[in-house]
């Protein structure tokens, strides 16, 4: 069964001055797939995300979202076309409450645009959706707490909430479990699984246990190129990958 291609990266490259970070990257992600991006530090994973989400424009190559070109577009345009991302360093609205954070995340997708003639309190759709998401990420007891006063794990959960609440179909999660303890990570992975049900997911992860538990496919990024893109078992057995990781993959998976 062939599914539609949600995200397509063709011959993507990015150069900063004289340094080429991404070189000739190719990737095709099918709709509904969960892909984990792994690779050694400095391989270019964050840069890849930044290229897809519009933070940087590629030096050359194409990025297609659901068949439409998004390379070179502004982040808000890409977001409106159905792609959303979270950040490795928590990127929320610190001086707004948890509820307000989520409400901000849904306003555009619900079509409220730049309205200054409707009251937030009367926007039933926005308020209900924000409330629902608050419950999904288990922060409804902290509804009025300012985001900057949450614990780290709670902030990461809020980060995911903001990313998902807008209703994007293609989601990029940049090291979602960064800085969490093992128990926190386990719970967080369950949260990610439940909120990204049916969505196309790309996630950068270092924790191999997470990767193998969450991903349908794994893409291995080394020196700005994808050297392998396959199911977890095949990746584990891939000699090139083993070489890149000096054997750590084979040990961790057991």
């Amino acid at each position: 069964m062939s599914r539609a291609t949600a995200l397509s990266l063709r011959n993507l490259s990015k150069r900063f001055g004289n340094t080429e970070i991404i070189r000739g990257l190719n990737l095709e992600v099918s709709s509904g797939e969960r892909v984990a991006i792994i690779g050694p530090n400095g391989a270019g994973k964050s840069t890849m995300f930044n290229l897809i989400s519009g933070r940087f424009a590629p030096t050359s190559g194409e990025i297609l979202l659901n068949g439409q070109r998004i390379d070179g577009r502004k982040p808000f345009e890409i977001n409106r076309m159905g792609l959303s991302r979270s950040f490795q360093i928590t990127n929320i609205f610190p001086k707004l409450s948890v509820f307000e954070n989520l409400r901000c995340a849904v306003l555009w997708s619900l079509g409220h645009r730049y309205s200054f003639w409707t009251f937030l309190g009367n926007l039933k759709d926005a308020n209900d959706l924000a409330q629902a998401w608050m419950q999904r990420i288990h922060l409804d007891s902290k509804s009025d707490v300012l985001a900057m006063n949450l614990t780290y794990a709670e902030q990461r959960a809020l980060e995911i909430g903001i990313t998902m609440a807008g209703g994007a179909n293609v989601v990029l999660l940049d090291e979602p479990t960064a800085g969490m303890s093992n128990s926190e990570t386990e719970r967080f992975i369950e949260l990610i699984k439940s909120v990204t049900e049916g969505k196309t997911l790309l996630t950068v992860e270092h924790d191999m246990g997470v990767v193998f538990g969450l991903a349908d496919k794994i893409a291995v990024l080394v020196y700005g190129e994808i050297i392998a893109f396959d199911t977890p078992e095949k990746i584990r057995a891939n000699p090139r990958v083993q070489e890149a990781y000096l054997g750590t993959l084979a040990e961790q998976g057991d």
């Binding site: 808000f76 977001n79 959303s84 707004l96 309205s115 003639w117 937030l120 039933k124």
Partner: protein
Amino acid sequence: MTVNRHASQPTAGAWVWLGFALVLLAAPWVFTSNLSLTMLSQMGIAIIACLSYNMLLGQGGMLSFGHAVYTGLGSYLTIHALNAVGLGQLSLPVSVLPIIGGLAGMGFAVLLGFVTTRKSGTAFSMITLGLAELVFAMSLMFSEFFGGEAGISGNRVVGQAVWGITFGPQRQVYYLIAIYTFICVGLLYAITQTPLGRMLNAVRDNPERVEFVGYNTQQVRYRAFIIAGFFAGIAGGLGALNFEIVTAEVVGPARSGAYLLFTFLGGATFFFGPILGGILMVLAFVLLSEITKAWLLYLGLVFLFMVVYAPGGLASLIMVNLRVIKHGKLRGLLPSYLGFALASLLMLAGAGVLVEMIYHQQLDAALGPDLPFAGMVLNTAEPMTWLVAGGLFFLGLWFFEQVRRRFAVRWTSVHTDITRSQAVSS
């Protein structure tokens, strides 16, 4: 189905608005002198101007050095409209003319705001500065519109007197200003509770994230800029009616600086902060400037102090202390507050004497060495006077720092107590 607690809750806030309306209504009955009436009128104008400025600063995180461009151009267009009414070319009641000022402010904000909001942060501030200087410099070039050195004057007692109101007496002007103030404050508050208002806050806090939830940050800023320009223009229009003359200084850098200074002093982080700021602005310009020539120096020093130690302004100081009172912790802080007051008094006495003596020697030396100061006569020729004054100042400064250090410790402990008690109760 759970009731959504975040739906509008009108009843508690309604009393505040009612109180506000009553204050506006009753103020001239309490402060009856002519000077008071003039000052109250100016305060209403200043409140609208500062609130419109805070839409940029406090709500949007945009530090503008050129807000007077919009209030000033609003003033100019309004006074031209007023003169047109007087000549019979325009048949509008005088009371509606400030809205023309508002439209002028809005129009210029549409024009200039497009270039201004393309950048954010420090670059934005620099652009506002450059545009303000541009307009100010132009004001000396086009004398038909700007009136050159003499400015443009007008007469507000023109046109149709609706219900017998001619706007001749200051009292009538005050009530017109009061009505506009009430409506504008209400509208500006309402806007903070709308999607644009909230996203403006989000842009202030994290412009990058805003893009990633689908909003174009530049559009958010631009629209807020236009709305702020509208209300700025209304304030300018009311000013034109109030003073019946508009000179180039209304678009000048001093005026822009004043909006910044006093909005910040009043408090940019709370909605009512700029209201305090507007009141302070009029008090400073009208009363403080009469007391001492060096009032801008004192103001600058207070401003500097606030930026470092109380960046939320007077409003935040009030709110934080209200919170302390609510939790019954005020008694522990009272000695520190008394200490601050005493130290400030010493510093003020010392510095005040020094400043006045210097000005006396500079300007009034022909009158002899004696300077009357706070009921005493000081001899400026005596070196002892200088030493005592200087000593008082440094003593006050040292004392202030001692109190501040102890206060900082007490403050933190009060706050930890409060946070702990809140965590327990929730």
